[in-house]
Symmetry: C2
Subunit: 234 residues, 2 copies
């Protein structure tokens, strides 16, 4: 018996997140179906985290146990012949039998992408949040640092080691790295920084909003299609 750590990548548009659930298509369900066809039995697949409905992953890690004699690249290639086009395996390696994709994770990086162009872009509709207001990226980047080290923002526990906002052309990317992201956390932080951008949270006020732990004082939850689980660090 060996434990395999498999890395996948997915376009989450069509899925209700990673986790299997009744009456809704999930990435895990599609993945387990592919696994069943490759390994010829239903295997228990453990993921590194839940992801919300419509959220994407540039890197998502999971484990499964098998005694099948197959190379790591063979696993990747075989899975890709069975997975739908919006999910792809990209790496496979053996890990110790006590390795757990969630508990062994040291930190995760999420990115959130905003398209700041004037008119809708058909190629970015499903992969960014189209936000039309002018954005002062340097200001937001400075303000984003207030989230670093916060432990209980808006009722959620979180410890972040990095928070950054930068622009490339019309794309603005928010990056958050940390070890305790909970439900909607990143999307609330982005929504809150957009409130800062719009002056709804005044300059110098953000630290206090965070300290208040009052969800109502934070910003809107930014929509899911801009969010990517970007890196999982072990």
């Amino acid at each position: 018996m060996k434990r395999l750590l498999i890395t996948i990548k997915y376009d989450g548009t069509a899925y209700h997140g990673w986790q299997v659930q009744q009456n809704a298509l999930s990435v895990q369900e599609e993945f387990q179906n592919a696994v069943e066809q490759v390994f010829l039995k239903r295997l228990d697949v453990k993921g590194c985290s839940r992801t919300d409905s419509g959220v994407h992953a540039n890197m998502y890690c999971l484990t499964l146990d098998t005694d099948m004699n197959i190379t790591d690249d063979g696993v990747v290639l075989a899975l890709n012949t069975k997975l739908p086009p919006d999910i792809s395996a990209v790496e496979c390696r053996e890990v110790p039998l006590d390795f757990h994709p969630r508990y062994n994770c040291v930190s995760k990086e999420y990115v959130y992408k905003i398209y700041n162009g004037k008119f809708r872009d058909p190629f970015l509709e499903k992969y960014t949040f189209h936000y039309r207001y002018p954005v002062d990226v340097d200001y937001l980047d400075r303000e984003a640092k207030h989230f670093i080290g916060t432990h209980d923002f808006a009722g959620f526990c979180s410890v972040n080691s990095e928070a950054e906002v930068k622009r490339e052309g019309d794309i603005i990317t928010f990056t958050f790295e940390g070890d305790g992201f909970l439900y909607n956390m990143v999307r609330i932080m982005v929504g809150t920084l957009l409130f800062v951008n719009e002056g709804k949270i005044k300059e110098g006020e953000l630290a206090e909003v965070i300290a208040s732990k009052d969800r109502k004082r934070a910003g809107r939850t930014a929509p899911p299609q801009g969010l990517y689980l970007n890196k999982v660090n072990y």
Copy 2:
């Protein structure tokens, strides 16, 4: 009465090209439906060229005539409320009444995108051709110059003023600029350069293949999802 030159951008995945046709969804049909809702009558819309089924456009130009009193930005914004998410208007300006989007076009630029990564990428599936062989980009870039100035390649008339192949990470971009691209032309040129890459057309042999005007000696037609009409120059 004034003539408007409107620039749009579209993800061609769902469409059988620009041109209206029976029993198949076209970009022109969707656009004319949006125009009818904005201008409150069915207007004649003239495009700058046909595009093949599944091909994308970063820039596509068309004209229509109207006596409606509306600003250029107003036209763009109104159209975008009626167009589906995979088609977007990006610019509008008035042109002389004798302007024709096809005949007045001086040249067009097409790009063709190849994804050269080892494993499938779910975000690139519909927007690139996944080609797994190693690619010698400098060699192909040199060989691509043979297409410049060709007038009758593989039975099609074409005059190209620019041909370039370059790589950025796992994405290889073929760029062709010219004034007479005909049906499948760019996709045949790309397919032929891939034959060169694979040694099916030997070093030094391409000029002769082109001169032979024999379609059977050229390469496969590269698939549509990698092709973009990128610029229309007036």
